[in-house]
Symmetry: C2
Subunit: 315 residues, 2 copies
Amino acid sequence: MTRSEDVARAAGVSRATVSQILNGRGARFSEETRTRVLQVAAELDYRPSIAGRALAKGASDIVVALLPYTHLSGNLQAVLEQATEELARHGLTLLLRLTTKNPTSLEQLVAQLRPRAVFALWPFTADERAVLERQGVSAISPAELDDGFDRKIGRAQAEHLVAKGYRRLAYVHLEDDRFRIWGPPREHGLAEVCAERGLPDPVVLRPRLDPHEVLDALGALSRGSGVACYNDDIAIALMQAAAVRRIAIPDDLGIIGMDDTPLAAVTHPRLTTVSVDVSAAALRATRQLLEGLLIPAGLADIKQVDPQVIEGESA
Amino acid sequence: MTRSEDVARAAGVSRATVSQILNGRGARFSEETRTRVLQVAAELDYRPSIAGRALAKGASDIVVALLPYTHLSGNLQAVLEQATEELARHGLTLLLRLTTKNPTSLEQLVAQLRPRAVFALWPFTADERAVLERQGVSAISPAELDDGFDRKIGRAQAEHLVAKGYRRLAYVHLEDDRFRIWGPPREHGLAEVCAERGLPDPVVLRPRLDPHEVLDALGALSRGSGVACYNDDIAIALMQAAAVRRIAIPDDLGIIGMDDTPLAAVTHPRLTTVSVDVSAAALRATRQLLEGLLIPAGLADIKQVDPQVIEGESA
DNA sequence: GAGGCCTTGTAACGCGCGTCAACTAGAGTG
DNA sequence: CACTCTAGTTGACGCGCGTTACAAGGCCTC
């Protein structure tokens, strides 16, 4: 490992000079020493130790993304990948921390790692926010991933179903702890639309992904219902069950999924689903985080995008 | 933040005493001071700063899992979750690093973070191993995730198909860069079995998850083929296409998936697929890593498990 | 030539921790 | 009583870095 002292010696200057030049305070030095130091640092492939840096500055260049206890969908993964790249472009390293059933306390992680920021993929509780504030860590929870956005998803599903003429709506969750995060706000969005349009309250079901439970759920839906699903998986399962029961889709039952998974495109009939522009969402979220760290990133350039219905033939 | 000095003062001892007691070297101290220090540390909720620790010891308590550029399947996620828990039980923090299209160099990450170990979810190249060795970071690549294991998966699929009487086998990948990691060894396993049994070489297809390409792939398969799929998604897509083309499954075409996703259980006919005991695999991998760090973890207690065919009705 | 200012650079400290060599007190030994 | 030995504890150093107060030299002004 080359240390800053090695660079200093090789460049014939002091360590302090190296440190300043490499940390943006280089304007104070002569053009000549500045370029020399930069060049030597590059030649020696010098990389500041994150530990030393963190110790001296009180915070590292690491950003931790706290993942909720849920299935990592392709969309979520895409967001994280893009965020990883965008942050790397600004010298920050994005690391992921999974939440398990018995979660390690947020506090412990933050206390130990002293990350530059915490990227929460779900809304923080007031307690958690307090912890982070006390530790001086800025916490960003991208708007695209909060309650409001998920409500919009539910609303988009509902509005499409209503537009297609379905008057009796249903919301089908998945009975699995992992979906407790984003399911409720989506259901809420659906219920909102029903209330606004004077439609009856939606039927809400929570089957497991199990042949019997899915068939039961199907049985509980009245003919002519429009069914909004938590994700494409449960939507596809319902379609399969409908085929067995000889229920015609979309005539006897309308189904709309969520996520626009690749599989949605290859079902017959093709699944109608909801897509989110993950690329834009990720970019927005990342820039939001950067600006929270006072790093100009051009947040304003990117408009918030709304979930969009991808029309297939299932509703 | 409470520092070790705070603990020392509150317990009426020196910082050195605190540090030693909290790091396993407590046998040298009197029973009384030992318990007092431990108690005070707990009361003050003291957590050593990872930066200070890393600086002093030359390595942090962080283990980095390098994720390949692929879709994070439920299985992989389960492995990571369990590893997170198991490592936490030994005082190690598992952090995930996504590999993006333009990957940051492994070297940079290691140089900066100085992790205690690197957990690779795919086989390291010789270069990468060299980098890690030079940096003194132990690298563990769990056996369950290497070429050999994936070949076994392909073999298991093949042997099931053969046992069911299919004489002409095929392997269907997904045309997506993300599946370049584990696809080839699985195909190889399938081909091995064909060769051993004197069957013709398998047909290999690489459709995208797109209605036309999947239908085309289906068309390219001769009647009576047994088809091993890269994962359940493509298997389900093929089943959908077969329904459209009125090809009977499993009579005209046998299909076997891989992953045992929840969706596999709810298709009609139910998808035959391959399951891996992720829990055991994760435990083995984690303990392997711990023992690599000279932390006794009982690796021998856990036998390597083989992939297992979950029999449905599709093959 | 004395005083002041600007430019360029550096010495020295502290971040929080782990690790020893070294020290103390007391008990044991001859 | 002088000595050794052991158990228990601590002072002091270094890990690699960022930062700041300050030094040295050059130039300008009056």
